[in-house]
Amino acid sequence: MIVKHNKNEFEDYLVDASSYEGFADELIIPENVDEIKQILKEATVKSHKITISGAGTGLTGSRVPLGGKILSMERFNRILNFDRERKTLKVESFVRIEEIANYLAGSGLFYPPNPTEKLSTIGGNIGNNASGARTYKYGSTRKYINKIDVVLPTGESLTIKRGEIFANGYNFEFCTNGGTLISFELPKVQMPKVKHAAGYYIEQNMDLIDLFIGAEGTLGVVTGAELQLLDSPEEVLGAIVFFDSHDGMFDFLSEIKKTDEIISPRLIEFFDDNSIMLLRGTIPHIPKTTVYALWIEIETSKEKSDETLTNLYLFTSQFTSLVDDTWVALNEAEHKRLAHFRHELPLAVYEKIHQYKQQKLGTDSAVPNEFVKEYYEYMVNLFKQEQLEYVIWGHIGNSHFHANILTKNEDEFRRAKDVYVDILRRAVSLGGTISAEHGIGKLKKEYLKILYSEEIIDGFRKIKEAFDSKNVLNDGNIF
């Protein structure tokens, strides 16, 4: 175990990718589960705060400490076991998404969740129920976690295997590995029926493992997990489709979801006109009359590859006169070039924010599919009305947008914040969520109240108390 007391030695651990900054007394880097047990047990006895630290790629300040000790998981970085037969991979919690992808390359198997941030760790992904572009077809992290090893705030360990511990209606009662009984009641929440990562996951008769996935590290420290893998598709066809009209793109989107048998994309990512304008700076060749672009990926086989190309061409030609400009990727290197299109964007936006010296305001809201166009138009109208500079991209397949508002001064920032809240309220009133993938952390707590009543949030708090009566672990996240 390594302990550092000098702030100079752990400054990097006081921030995450949101640039929100915290403070702490010391940094602890445990090297095995027993050390974590001892650290947590002592924290509970002495009532001092522990904040779990992953890769620091989060966007809501969840790993940012607000006093107490930082518990960095960085030594839990080993891939433990690859079971080809069962298609599972056992990893420690600091293994990064990129390492998992590299490890499985060429094995014929893959781990479906693919958050844009490839340096994020599996522990962080579990804490956040992370999603990615492929969530459109495959769902979020939740579906691919078979088992987790947890150390609870009391220092006891709890192994949760999917399919073993269920709630009885809205009541949980189970024992830790050491035999301590834990019981609590779940609030009766109806979660939005969209991609969702705000507050605890609650369902009648739910599996205990699902409560820990997306709990933002408030209930226990995940030290390892068994991941479920899937067979890799034989071939993947990637494409950037350019649209010369607003309606053309939204019609393409609603129709492609109905063509399941002909073209069944595994991801659909959106770039608005302002994204296109920013990208022109680094990526030449974008057709001049482009209004919007979509990045899609379709799984196919060697045998069907030609047919898929033809189908995509015929289908796309109904919605855009730029069909002949569609960019295509057929191998990994070409896919990486298309993904570059997506990854360049946040960088270009950060550069602008830096230039304007203002805080970033970015939405993470999602709405039910039938409202995707209405919701998009609602946002754009508000931005135009308030004369705010904005860039919108996102996982449009899941009707999930990242609308980034770029403000140049305090006054603009204040107006932008009102617009931001308005947009979140609109999402909730359409049956959507305020956060589809980034989570609540410390930065979005006030917005959770738009989605849930005080009573429900109190219900969440009771769950937290059942595991962490002294409120020592990841204090400030969610609540």
Binding site: H285, D306, L330
Partner: protein, 248 residues
Amino acid sequence: MNILVCVSRVPDTATRIIVGSDGKSIDKNGVKYIVNPYDEFALEEGLRLREKNGGSVTAITVGTDAATDVLRTALAMGVDKAILVKGDEPTDSYYVAYNIAKIAKEINPDLIILGRQSIDFDSFQLPSMLAEMLGMPSVSVVSALKIENGQVSAERDVEGGKETVACSLPCIISAQKGLNEPRYPKLPDIMKAKSKPIDTREAEKTEPKTSIIGMEIPSKARAGKVLEASDANIDEIVRLLKEEAKVI
């Protein structure tokens, strides 16, 4: 302008390379192949020159039937013709250069462009060998190219700066990253490329000038050592740097 672009089929950069059981080649199981990334700059430059000056671009590769796929990619990017010199899978640069030179003599290109190196064997030899065999000037590792009135001006990256080299046509140019931003193959062009003819020739066997004796994966970086923070450890650090790391 008649342009010949040489392309090579190489393992995808994302592939995890495993040495095969013979210890001299890679295990091809599950390996996907791509156009050598430096050759994409060569293809793009050829296409741009054609768009500006007219003429035609021919892509050529030496290899087995499997190499057809990189020619299809070249056709999808927009080359006019594709030639497969069919033979053994190349491991010896001389064999490749000899067979390309043979075709070049037949089609008399004004300009031959190729990537600075292929990322599988990294031999760097092809441009110079071709130049020698064809008696043409060659400029390697070019990051900017201008051709006006038959005069070539090529910019090269050199240590700490750039140098500009002039020569006349016909010549050989090897492409460096930064020469251009290769275009993305477009959907209708990929579909059309599938049915375009590929001119297949028989490769001539040559006496190998080099042969592979063995192949191994580089060993992983050594694991670091963490010493507890105390003054007493300074002697230990000095000892380790001297005796183990052998850097002082």
